[in-house]
């Protein structure tokens, strides 16, 4: 080690009191900090529930209020009694088939909606002519509320499966197109310019630059698509159905079986939660290159 020092008179301005109590920060390794009983306790507890903290807290409060008799059974039955109803309905052989038919509708609707959204989104994003063909229509469709289309769809396609599936695909397709289009157009222009200068062809530009660059936006679109498709599922099934989760809810409402209504709602929300977790896993796999922000 060499050390070079240029001696110069220390800069001490008039009236600068060097011994005054200026505030200072001292940084040491985290484990070197003196341990208090409180910090040990805090480290041990460290939010074991993660993002489920608030939902669990709400459930516990709900249960307590129900048991105490503050919440009437007909308005909001206790969580434990909803679980019991779910098990009962399953054992009666009602819930299983209803859930199956709902999932089937969601799957078919999603498959159609996502395919249409991805194909048009990629064409619109990559080609000027694709933008002219699709962008206007989808922007208009985007402003039409999903639920307002339902009556029209019933008139056009009847009250059979077709209406339900199409409503779900409408809900899934529009946000996928919008996000994918924006994501492809949003890929950094300087990276595209750089790729052109390396002599890479159009195919390589699309597969190595545009598609991976648009992936974050695609995943945002997927998140919206899944959420809206569940919304479409609920809307389609509640209005007219003789089987499915929505039918279960309508039936519960008719016979004042609040328990049964809640069972349906819980399953819908679980589907939403599952969809979100699915996209999270995809993000972790597909966006490994992105150092993610982690809150302290």
């Amino acid at each position: 080690m060499t050390e070079v020092r240029l001696e110069a008179p220390a800069l001490v301005g008039p009236g600068t009191d060097r011994t005054s109590t200026r505030e200072r920060h001292v940084f040491v390794p985290r484990d070197a900090r003196p341990r208090t009983p409180f910090s040990t306790l805090r480290e041990r507890l460290r939010w074991p529930l993660g993002i489920y903290t608030t939902p669990v807290a709400v459930l516990i409060a709900w249960e307590i209020l129900s048991v105490a008799g503050v919440l009437a059974k007909t308005y909001a039955p206790a969580p434990t009694s909803i679980v019991k109803s779910t098990v009962d309905l399953w054992q009666q052989g009602v819930l299983g088939p209803d859930l199956a038919i709902s999932l089937q509708r969601a799957a078919i609707g999603l498959a159609i909606g996502l395919t249409a959204g991805i194909v048009t989104g990629v064409l619109g994003g990559l080609l000027r002519s694709g933008e002219y063909l699709f962008n206007g229509v989808v922007q208009v469709l985007n402003t039409i509320p999903l639920l307002a289309v339902l009556p029209l769809m019933i008139v056009w396609f009847g009250i059979d499966e077709l209406t339900k599936v199409l409503l779900i695909s409408f809900g899934a397709g529009v946000p996928m197109y919008l996000n994918l289009f924006a994501a492809i157009r949003g890929v950094d222009q300087r990276l595209i310019e750089m790729t052109r200068t390396t002599g890479a062809g159009t195919w390589r530009l699309v597969t190595w630059v545009l598609v991976p660059g648009a992936l974050p936006g695609f995943l945002v679109g997927l998140r919206f698509s899944l959420a809206y498709s569940i919304l479409g599922l609920v809307a389609a099934e509640t209005v007219n159905a003789d089987k499915g989760l929505g039918f279960l809810i309508t039936q519960g409402q008719t016979y004042l079986q609040t328990n049964q209504v809640f069972v349906g709602l819980v399953i819908y929300s679980l589907l939403g939660l599952l969809a979100d977790q699915f996209v999270r896993v995809l993000e972790r796999v597909l966006l490994r290159w992105r150092p993610s922000f982690e809150a302290a």
Binding site: M194, T195, W208, V209, P212, L215, W289, R290, P291
Partner: protein, 243 residues
């Protein structure tokens, strides 16, 4: 564009710029500018910021078209940009082989990465690299296609002084292996003296002065000739009074 024009002007030169004019609105940035770069010559283009250095480089790269005159460059050319411009979603090796085709692309990518001192980092993501490493990857990306002309647009401007000196050594080492004409745009006089075969200074949209450097490596570091050249260049840049 057409083949006959290309052959008529072919004078065994790395690049020819003939009376090129480029305007942005009313502002004439390049005013009948002439510049010829010989094969395997390293020309440093010096000039204050905003004088049109980057405009000229973009014309040579084919990223922009002149409003008048003619630009002739080899088809095999590569650019090193001011920012590294690496694809954050591709690993280092794929960033290097971006423009390559064929079965030996990976092998060539690894070889060039070794040349810039980055063997073993092929699998890293660009966001994991330091500024100097990232700029070395973009150097490798430019050299991997064995270009006849390499255009460098202030490639080391964002690097710290020590890393910049290392990069200068690297450029000198790479020149002995890759036989390409180079045009390096910079506003750093010391960088120009360290690397150039010829320094051209841009003023008022033209090449104002041109200096051939026939100094040895040691003389470029410290010598009377170096200091004289340095003050001449500063004078050309209109900075004589401040130094």
């Amino acid at each position: 564009m057409s083949a006959p024009v290309a052959t008529r002007h072919r004078r065994q030169a790395g690049a020819v710029v003939d009376k090129v004019v480029r305007r942005f609105g009313d502002r004439v940035v390049l005013d009948h500018l002439d510049l010829t770069i010989a094969d395997e010559e390293l020309v440093v283009l010096l000039g204050p910021s905003g004088c049109g250095k980057s405009t000229l480089l973009r014309l040579l790269a084919g990223l922009d078209r002149p409003d008048g005159g003619l630009v002739e460059v080899p088809a095999k050319r590569a650019i090193v940009f001011q920012a590294d411009r690496l694809l954050p979603w591709q690993r280092v090796l794929r960033n290097v082989t971006l423009g390559l085709r064929g079965p030996d692309a990976q092998k060539r990518g690894r070889e060039v990465l070794a040349e810039v001192g980055l063997s073993g980092r092929e699998g890293a993501w660009p966001k994991e690299l330091s500024g100097g490493e990232a700029q070395r990857v973009s150097l490798a990306r430019a050299l991997v296609s064995e270009p006849e002309l390499v255009l460098l647009d202030e490639p080391f401007a964002a690097l710290d002084a020590i890393t910049r000196l290392r990069m200068h050594d690297l450029v000198r080492a790479l020149r002995s292996k890759h036989h390409a004409a180079m045009l390096l745009v910079t506003h750093d006089v010391d960088e120009a003296i360290a690397l150039a075969d010829r320094v051209v200074v841009m003023r008022d949209g033209r090449i104002g002065a041109s200096h051939h450097l026939r100094l040895s490596a040691a003389e470029r570091e410290a010598s009377v000739a170096r200091e004289e050249l340095r003050s001449t260049l500063l004078e050309d840049l209109g900075l004589a009074h401040q130094h």
